[in-house]
């Protein structure tokens, strides 16, 4: 477009542009309106269905929302003197929860690493099996941890190991996907350079790809570690040991043990927030120098 005419072209063109644009605007408004309408309908009817299928109604229950925390907090406040002792008592359970998260993140990251390298075009050792590895990681990602954990608890009994395996499997799938997005953008030139010297696949990955992707991989793994601490606490609820298990018992006992529930809650909450902050700090540092 280099014609610098300011005098205007023929009015017919302008007219037709005006009318076609107006039509386009109308159409867009219509679609936009429809989308909005569908969304609002979905939200409203969805809310109504959920409200209807819930034991208590939303509006009936709203004023009671503070009852349970109030019960717990008032009892915990009464017995506040015992809180430090209880925190100490449950500290080993906390360590177990963190251990579950850490081990499963480590194992999952290793699994994700292989899944991503084997499932990325240009890097895969067996290019024809790429779809296979992608499906594997999709499936591993899709399985909620609780499913595997429950089954393993069944076979091996309760404890940290089922949770660890369950979380590791899910982590491997989830990281496999995130990792392979990073790996797809990796520069293949070094890999080719290494290939030309007769390096094996593992050497090419180790020297050609890993140094490039490591900061992102570590950053994603840290993020996953955060998520896994929660997951490991949740799995405790279904018998997989750690803090979640203690919390569930304390809550199930009800009044009389609410102080324990409060103590465990403080530990859990503190841990989650602590690792959240630490990991986001390090993640920022890792990805910082990548802008250029």
């Amino acid at each position: 477009m280099l014609d610098a005419t300011l005098g205007g072209s023929t009015p017919i063109t302008v007219d037709s542009i005006q009318s076609s644009y107006t039509a386009q605007v109308k159409r867009r408004r219509l679609y936009g309106g429809l989308t909005l309408l569908i969304f609002v309908l979905l939200m409203v009817s969805g809310f109504n269905v959920a409200d209807d299928r819930n034991a208590g109604g939303f509006w009936d229950g709203l004023h009671q929302i503070g009852d349970y925390p109030a019960d717990v907090l008032s009892e915990a406040w009464e017995k506040r003197a015992e809180l430090p002792g209880l925190v100490a008592k449950y500290f080993p359970a906390l360590v177990e929860t963190i251990n579950i998260a850490a081990v499963s993140t480590l194992i999952g990251a290793l699994g994700g690493l292989f899944l991503s390298l084997l499932g990325t075009r240009g890097l895969a050792k067996w290019p024809r099996l790429i779809p296979l590895f992608r499906r594997i990681s999709d499936i591993m990602r899709a399985v909620p941890e609780i499913v595997i954990a429950l089954m393993l608890i069944f076979v091996m009994g309760g404890g940290p190991v089922p949770a660890m395996i369950a979380i590791a499997i899910h982590t491997a799938g989830a990281l496999g996907k995130m990792f392979s997005e990073v790996a797809e953008n990796a520069d293949l030139k070094p890999v080719e350079g290494l290939a030309s010297t007769g390096a094996t696949w593992s050497q090419r990955m180790l020297l050609g790809v890993l140094p490039q992707v490591a900061p992102n991989y570590v950053s994603y793994s840290l993020l996953r570690f955060e998520v896994n601490i929660r997951a490991s606490a949740i799995l405790g609820f279904v018998g997989a040991g750690g803090l979640g298990y203690e919390l569930r018992n304390a809550m199930a006992w009800g009044p009389g043990r609410f102080d324990e529930a409060a103590a465990i809650f403080i530990l859990l909450f503190g841990t989650i927030v602590f690792f959240d902050q630490i990991s986001s700090h390090y993640r920022n540092r890792l990805t910082e120098g990548q802008g250029q």
């Binding site: 477009m1 610098a4 300011l6 205007g8 408004r29």
Partner: protein
């Protein structure tokens, strides 16, 4: 009609614009030149009230611009359009919508929230685009256009405001020579046909000489030159740019351009 008096802008210790005095009696096309950091952008931003002056006054047709607040200030902004080096369009919205942003000040907040603009405005926007020769681009997203086209969209948005003054902050610094010429020509035509005042920061002397009625030179926040293009000799330019005897116009103009480019990338 426009009187700027002792206009000063301080950023902490740094004085970006230092007691600038400008007086313009009638719609003129004014070019402001000066090297990077001279305070050109700052001056224009104070005029548009994108930033507040530290001291001094701006008077436009007897009205004190510097003291305007709230709705009155926004009303002034709608009368004083601004064009930016980086176009500052909304890249994900289509061209007409971008042009229509020029009417935001006049429209109710509620209607605009849903992107509802009157039919007449839409037609006017397309006419303006046509005047600038880019009517066919009307339904495209702004980001899909070339730099020169985007700058013309920005000019269209400015025209949509139906402003008394158009400020242009290095409007052609990001454009190739061909597009730069089209954009400058458009601004000149608007000035001549509509009788609007145009104040443009420019980074090349030849552009200023070619399109402007009056050239203002700034150096370190001060106005060091104010005169006709003819008065702008190489010696004066050397002064403005603070260059030595080895100053050659062509070299300087590219040098400044390079600096700008770097700023954009960083």
């Amino acid at each position: 009609m426009l009187h700027i008096e002792k206009l000063t802008k301080r950023f902490g210790d740094k004085i970006a614009v230092d007691a600038a005095n400008i007086s313009v009696g009638q719609p003129t096309m004014i070019g402001i030149i000066g090297r990077s950091g001279a305070g050109k952008s700052t001056l224009l931003r104070m005029l548009n009230r994108l930033s507040d002056a530290s001291e001094g006054t701006i008077q436009f047709e007897g009205e004190d611009i510097t003291s305007l607040r709230g709705a009155a200030m926004r009303d002034w902004q709608s009368r004083c359009a601004m064009i930016f080096q980086q176009f500052n369009l909304v890249p994900r919205m289509d061209v007409v919508s971008n042009v229509l942003h020029g009417t935001l000040n006049k429209r109710s907040t509620l209607a605009t929230m849903f992107n509802l603009f009157p039919q007449s405005d839409i037609h006017k926007a397309i006419e303006i685009l046509d005047r600038l020769g880019i009517a066919e681009q009307a339904p495209k997203r702004a980001e899909a256009l070339s730099g020169g086209q985007q700058q013309r969209v920005a000019i269209a948005r400015a025209l949509m405001q139906d402003p008394k003054i158009i400020l242009a902050d290095e409007p052609i610094a990001s454009l190739d020579p061909m597009n730069a010429q089209v954009v400058m020509q458009s601004l000149r035509t608007i000035h001549e046909e509509d009788g609007r005042m145009v104040i443009a920061n420019l980074h090349t002397l030849d552009t200023a000489r070619r399109y402007c009625d009056r050239v203002i030179g700034m150096r370190d926040g001060r106005i060091v030159f104010d005169g006709t293009p003819e008065q702008l000799t190489t010696g004066v330019a050397r002064d403005i740019y603070g260059a030595g005897a080895d100053f050659s116009e062509a070299a300087t103009s590219t040098e400044i351009e390079t600096l700008d480019r770097q700023k954009v990338i960083a």
